[in-house]
């Protein structure tokens, strides 16, 4: 499936405390939690984002806490995929586990500006910056992780493993 949307651009070290501040972690309702996505560094983000848009950032996206609420609110506010030069490891795992597509491409991350129109093909990792008429390829997933994403996340993947184990 080809994803189309606009880029919301951030710099390096966007941490989970700004993606979803810890002071809201007592909120269990995802709709309500999502209202606070990125509010400490970009108060307009939630009102500006349209379903299918992309977050594009440079290095170490999602550093900090292990809170899974971070990829959850990004996904829930309609972001189709996060593209970054690099991801913090726990965020990357969490995103794969919950089914938020994440693509790693330094070239795409650096060339993209806020508001650029992007098209992304998740299966091939192709990222087209329509505004700038440029094409990039994201780093392919290791086979093992591809399998998790193909199954629709870690829960589905594990369910299948558990079924296979049963006599």
């Amino acid at each position: 499936m080809r994803l189309k949307g606009n880029a919301h651009k951030y710099g390096s070290d966007v941490n989970t405390d700004v993606i979803i501040p810890a002071r809201y972690l007592n909120v269990s309702d995802l709709d309500e939690l999502t209202k606070h996505c990125m509010e400490d560094i970009d108060g307009e983000f939630v009102s500006r984002v349209r379903p299918g848009d992309f977050i594009v950032a440079t290095t170490n996206f999602g550093c900090g806490s292990s809170r899974e609420q971070a990829p959850l609110v990004i996904k829930h506010c309609g972001i189709a995929c996060v593209i970054a030069s690099s991801f913090a490891r726990i965020f990357f795992r969490n995103a794969i586990n919950i089914g938020l597509p994440v693509l790693q491409s330094t070239e795409a991350a650096e060339a993209t500006e806020a508001g650029d129109e992007l098209e992304v093909e998740l299966t091939t990792g192709e990222i087209v910056n329509v505004t700038k008429s440029r094409k990039f390829y994201a780093k392919p997933y290791p086979e093992f992780m591809l399998e998790i994403t193909k199954k629709g996340g870690l829960i589905e993947y594990t369910k299948e493993r558990l079924r296979a184990k049963k006599p």
């Binding site: 070290d13 002071r23 007592n26 400490d40 560094i41 806490s65 809170r67 490891r89 795992r93 558990l162």
Partner: protein, 417 residues
């Protein structure tokens, strides 16, 4: 193999593992708290798993927003408590709980040679004991709770060797901040930080916990120390469980080896808004403080409180600064009380609280207003970490924190002695 590779090999039935390999790893201990357990419970429901693989290997500690800070936190804590009871998990109630990463080693639950996963990024703290310990999200933790296994990619190891003799007032916090300042907040991304050298051998266990705790602030999957006599003595004092120890091979392959001479290191301060934004305390300049926090999973242990008390003894907290001191566990609190440290703190004009993560993540017990500045012994100083996005957090050791609380500005311990 490196220390981390040895532990991962032993837990995945392999004789040898290499960085980049994907493994199914058996876990020895699983941890979750009051803010991450509710999501893990949802994950377990989706998995359709009613009973956990081994309930006594799962530890639940309500420490983040507990004692309950508001109705919503109370609901989350209630759900967490019910889950722990229904499943027969190891659970520490308010009054017995501590900050998870202070509590688990103290209770003899985290041990050398184990693989430990927790739904908290600072799970890496247990690397101080020679365990492979790493933080994950709630879904990963739900799968570990259900199956006793988790997938891992074998990380490369970077070795950090600290030579020389530690100057006075320089400890584990300064060594780890100095390293993060050098390599950056993604300097050890996806890697293991293995700590070694004669200065590390001299460091107390509490100092090692502080260092391992902040490995994640350099992007690391784990921070790890070899087991020595100090580790063995610590474990013997805190329980009688048997455990396995591993040592890195002499020909282990490291992605990088970084060496320091600690005799040249001063107390360090991380300025807003990254733990890597580090300066020596003598270069800090005039930074006035509204609040000082001593505690957290980084520096809420007995050694930390002793250092703070040494400086606060007979002194007064600055009239325009609030000082909040939080022992990391009931045991730490009790021992600090018996040693007279709590009396010293209260006489100096500090507030002393029951154990909680509270202020570190802007939860409660010391949230900052816009424009306020706090120096804290915790591990993160991101925008809005301790409250208003217009507030500032500076990270430092308990020694710098105590000196700064007395002078009402960032200060070196030397200035108050």
């Amino acid at each position: 193999m490196t220390l981390a590779e040895k532990i991962l090999a032993a837990h995945s039935g392999r004789r040898k593992v290499n960085p980049g390999e994907f493994l199914n790893v058996e876990v020895d201990l699983i941890l979750a708290n009051d803010v991450m357990t509710p999501l893990a419970v949802k994950g377990l429901q989706r998995l359709g798993v009613g009973k956990l693989f081994e309930p006594k290997k799962v530890v639940i500690v309500p420490d983040h927003f507990c004692p309950n800070k508001d109705i919503r936190s109370a609901e989350a804590a209630k759900l967490t408590r019910q889950f722990a009871k229904e499943q027969g998990l190891v659970y520490f109630e308010v009054g017995r709980m501590g900050i998870e990463h202070v509590l688990l080693p103290e209770q003899g639950l985290a041990l050398p040679g184990q693989v430990i996963v927790g739904a908290d990024s600072h799970t890496c703290t247990y690397g101080a004991l020679g365990a492979f310990a790493t933080g994950m999200g709630s879904t990963d933790i739900a799968v570990a709770m259900a199956t006793g296994e988790i997938w891992m990619k074998v990380p490369p190891t970077i070795k950090f060797v600290y030579h020389g003799k530690l100057p006075e007032w320089v400890g584990g916090k300064d060594l780890i901040l100095y390293a993060i300042g050098g390599i950056g907040v993604d300097g050890a991304l996806y890697s293991v930080m293995e700590f070694a050298g004669e200065a590390i051998a001299e460091l107390t266990m509490d100092g090692r916990f502080t260092m391992a705790n902040m490995a994640v602030e350099a992007g690391a999957k784990a921070g790890i120390f070899s087991v020595d006599d100090k580790t063995k003595e610590y474990v013997a004092t805190h329980g009688n469980e048997s455990y396995s120890t591993y040592q890195p091979d002499g020909n282990a392959e490291y992605a990088n080896v970084i060496e320091y001479d600690v005799s040249e290191i001063e107390p360090q301060v991380a300025f807003p808004y990254l733990p890597s934004n580090v300066k020596s305390v003598s270069q800090a300049g005039e930074v006035k403080l509204d609040q000082v926090v001593i505690g957290g999973c980084t520096n809420g242990r007995l050694d930390d409180l002793r250092v703070a008390a040494r400086l606060l003894q007979g002194k007064q907290i600055h009239s325009e600064t609030r000082c909040i001191i939080i022992p990391g566990s009931q045991q730490v609190y009790l021992e600090a009380l018996r040693e007279g440290l709590i009396e010293t703190f209260i006489e100096a004009g500090a507030a002393v609280s029951t154990p909680t993560c509270g202020p570190c993540c802007g939860g409660h017990m010391g949230v900052l207003a816009a424009g306020e500045r706090c120096l804290s012994t915790t591990n993160r100083n991101f925008v809005g970490r301790m409250g208003s996005p217009q507030s500032e957090v500076y990270l430092a050791s308990p020694a710098v924190a105590a000196a700064s609380a007395i002078l009402g500005r960032i200060a070196s311990p030397e200035e108050v002695i």
